[in-house]
């Protein structure tokens, strides 16, 4: 065991940092800083992906033969850390972190040829159709059906909480291809063109005014059979592969570190009782404890990334990242809201504004409460906190 940072990693960080500073358009990072929504601006994201693709950096984790970088896990960690620190748009997770890996692992050559490049360069954006109105945390009760007829599947049913479906191009969708069999063997993965006839998309307005989550309805939607991923009935296997593949994403570590920086800025911007808030011992005490939790959280991520061996399955450690990460997201945004006091109550609406010229409302204030509101979802989506803790008790402790 040797926990000192390697000089080479530090050099890599410097290289990445200066290159991002060169290639990231100023208007993108500026807009990104004032974002009200919790997800990056899609147009900016596409532009940024195209730029990264030209650099060969848009899908660092993919195998080199599919356009990956060949970086170590720690280097990929550093790269993403720097992307966030630079206020760059984030990865479009569904395509780069889910669909891509599933396709190059289980998909056909034709699927790889058709789909991977548009993911790499941001031309095609993917959404993910897992949850259904009656199957939130309980994915075993999926009902959306795909009936095979000759060389097409006829899909009927609906999905919910499909992030960004209204502006996405494709849907990576779990469907039931077998209504008789065991739930574990009856689910398949289909790639569905979101412009197919029979698809209706409804945006759901959220607590923070965004309407990014969608409901997607399928009414006899015809999907070419070649869009089946791998084998029928193995949908669960692929979904599980995804979760195992993406062990550290749910830690939100980079997002959290960026918000920590913003919180510190807030502490120096807000003046209360004639002094900067950062000099209020109670507020800075909360900040300090949170910063300590974040430091530890970051090391938890590094441990999982490095697959540290221990007496329990690594999936348990991944659950720790999710549980702690979602808690911290909520704590840090709450601390921002508290910093702003009554000024936190302003509703900025759904659209991000131009740069502020009003000294009462510095740019930094915009989006803080919006973020805090939607962050209540951190303990809900991607497996509610309750489910995560059930899982932990079982995986790590055998309860």
């Amino acid at each position: 065991m040797n926990l000192r940072f390697d000089e080479r990693d530090e050099a890599f960080r410097q290289m990445v940092r200066s290159r991002i500073a060169q290639i990231l358009p100023w208007d993108i990072s500026d807009r990104h800083r004032r974002l009200l929504a919790n997800t990056s601006h899609l147009h900016d994201q596409r532009r940024w992906f195209a730029i990264l693709d030209a650099e060969g950096w848009s899908v660092p984790a993919w195998p080199v033969e599919h356009g990956g970088t060949g970086w170590t896990a720690l280097q990929r960690f550093i790269f993403e850390d720097e992307m966030y620190a630079a206020d760059a748009p984030e990865f479009h997770w569904i395509g780069s972190h889910m669909v891509g890996p599933v396709l190059y692992t289980f998909g056909s050559k034709a699927q790889c040829d058709r789909f991977l490049q548009p993911i790499r360069d941001g031309r095609e954006i993917w959404a993910q159709g897992f949850s259904e109105p009656n199957a939130g945390s309980d994915l075993a009760s999926l009902r959306t059906q795909a009936r095979r007829e000759d060389d097409v599947y006829i899909v009927n049913g609906s999905k919910i909480w499909t992030s960004g479906a209204f502006e996405a191009d494709w849907l990576f969708c779990l469907v039931k291809t077998d209504t008789q069999g065991k739930p574990q063997r009856s689910v398949s993965c289909l790639l569905i063109d979101l412009r197919s006839p029979g698809i209706t998309i409804r945006q759901i307005r959220q607590i923070n005014n965004e309407a990014h989550l969608c409901e997607v309805f399928f009414d006899d939607v015809r999907v070419p059979a070649e869009n089946l991923v791998g084998e029928e009935g193995l949908g669960w296997t692929y979904a599980k592969f995804l979760l195992d593949h993406e062990r550290t994403t749910s830690s939100f570590i980079f997002w959290i570190k960026r918000e920590l920086t913003r919180t510190r800025e807030l502490g120096r911007t807000v003046v209360r009782n004639g002094r900067q808030l950062i000099h209020d011992p109670i507020w800075s005490g909360r900040l300090a404890v949170l910063a300590a939790e974040i430091e530890a959280h970051e090391w938890s991520v590094l441990r999982v990334l490095s697959e540290e061996s221990s007496g329990f399955p690594i999936t348990a450690a991944a659950s720790v990242l999710k549980v702690k990460g979602s808690e911290i997201q909520q704590s840090i945004t709450a601390l921002q809201v508290d910093a702003l006091g009554e000024q936190s109550l302003r509703d900025y609406g759904a659209e991000s504004l131009d740069a502020s010229t009003d000294p009462i409302w510095p740019d930094l204030y915009q989006g803080r409460t919006s973020r805090a509101l939607i962050t209540r979802a951190a303990t809900i989506f991607g497996g509610a906190q309750q489910i995560q803790k059930n899982l932990l008790a079982k995986l790590a402790l055998g309860l």
Binding site: S131, N134, A135, G136, S137, D138, A140, I160, W161, I204, R205, Q206, I207, N209, L213, T269, V270, V271, R272, D280, I282, W283, V337, D338, G341, E342, Q343, S344, L345, R346, D347, G349, D358, P359, I360, P362, T369, L373, I374, R376, A377, T379, I380, F381, A384, Q385, Q386, K389
Partner: protein, 370 residues
């Protein structure tokens, strides 16, 4: 000490319950976003007709002269219905200030206008907390005063005809009553997250006639603090009502919503989150009672009890609204489910006129100086 409602109290509660049932709900709340100043004029008139604006105004000034307990009961009901009409600004806060600052006919005139719902008055007190902004100060001129500076987040100001403005004047505090649309006053209005409205006010050589100065020095501070504490009690009462309904809605959802083959309310984790909500809401109501006991008493005791209640109700509001959303799962963070509106309203009620943090700091100072 008596927890039973008097006849008058029961009447107030019943009328409020009827109005809340008839006039609130998701569709109405969504519709209210389109009101320019956050106030539904018809609803305002109905409330005035029910005597609510007159409730705690003294009888000798045309009010009903009811104790703060009655107001709290009314506010609990309004909190249940997420009613954001600017009742507290006008009929609690401004009414108290004018009752104490004005005398004889002028007092009767203004309190009468408040009691009938004819006028709305907002407090412009808080000043922005960043560099590059300046607070309000006044200077004496020949025929009155000239005000300069800025106020931030004046609750309910967009719909108010008049403002109560706190200001520095010759090294001491001053309280002015001015028409909001006077020359030299610019209003920057915006919505708050619960659909109510607030504004920043910029005073640029705003002229106030001599009688616009209604209190100054220690008297101004005392009156303002009394009025703010009464307004805080009203906010706390609304929070209690909001929590009790959020709890009911969430328990109802937990009984209906099926996951893993049973209602989610059968899961112990959900039961415990709901139990914590219940404990919190119970505790918040108790804190409200403690504040009501002291609201008309000794100033330091009053300030302390109100701050305590603001802290307890604030923390309880967080527990209730957070657990309420959590139990609702994905639906909890949508605008389409009412629980998210309770969440936002409870956040406003926590922060308005000082959040948990400011009140805890105030109490900590009391502890140190005791």
């Amino acid at each position: 000490m008596d927890f039973e409602l008097s006849e008058m109290q029961q009447m107030v509660v019943d009328s409020a319950e009827r109005l809340v049932t008839a006039e609130t709900g998701l569709d109405q709340w969504h519709a209210r976003r389109k009101l320019t100043d956050g106030v539904d004029p018809k609803l305002w008139v109905k409330m005035a007709e029910l005597g609510w604006m007159a409730l705690v105004i003294p009888e000798d000034a045309g009010g009903l002269g009811c104790p703060m307990e009655d107001l709290a009961l009314l506010m609990i009901e309004l909190g249940r219905g997420l009613v954001t009409e600017p009742l507290i600004s006008t009929s609690v806060l401004a009414a108290h200030v004018l009752d104490r600052a004005l005398v004889s006919e002028r007092r009767a005139h203004w309190l009468g206008r408040i009691a009938t719902g004819e006028v709305r008055i907002a407090l412009a007190h808080e000043e922005p907390h960043t560099n590059g902004t300046i607070g309000v100060s006044a200077r004496r001129i020949e025929d009155g005063y000239m005000l300069d500076g800025q106020k931030a987040v004046a609750f309910d100001a967009p719909s108010a005809g008049y403002l109560l403005v706190t200001s520095e004047l010759e090294g001491t505090s001053a309280l002015f009553l001015v028409a909001r649309e006077s020359t030299g006053i610019a209003t920057n209005s915006y919505a708050l997250i619960d659909g109510s409205r607030a504004a920043d006010l910029t005073f640029a050589s705003a002229h106030v006639p001599s009688d616009g100065l209604i209190a100054s020095g220690a008297a101004a501070d005392r009156i303002l603090n009394e009025a703010l504490d009464r307004a805080r009690v009203a906010l706390i009462a609304q929070a209690v009502g909001a929590m009790e309904v959020a709890l009911r809605i969430t328990a109802g959802y937990a009984k209906e919503r099926q996951q893993f083959g049973q209602p989610i309310g059968k899961f112990q984790a959900v039961q415990h989150m709901a139990a914590d909500m219940f404990v919190a809401a119970y505790q918040a109501r108790s804190a409200l009672y403690a504040a009501l006991r002291d609201i008309d008493g000794d100033a330091s005791k009053r300030a302390r009890s109100v701050a305590m209640a603001k802290v307890v109700a604030g923390m309880a509001g967080q527990t209730v609204s957070r657990n309420g959303v959590q139990i609702h799962g994905g639906y909890g963070v949508t605008d389409e489910y009412v629980i998210s509106h309770y969440y936002r309203r409870l956040l406003v009620l926590e922060k308005q006129y000082g959040g948990i943090d400011l009140n805890a700091a105030k109490l900590a100072l009391c502890e140190a100086e005791a």
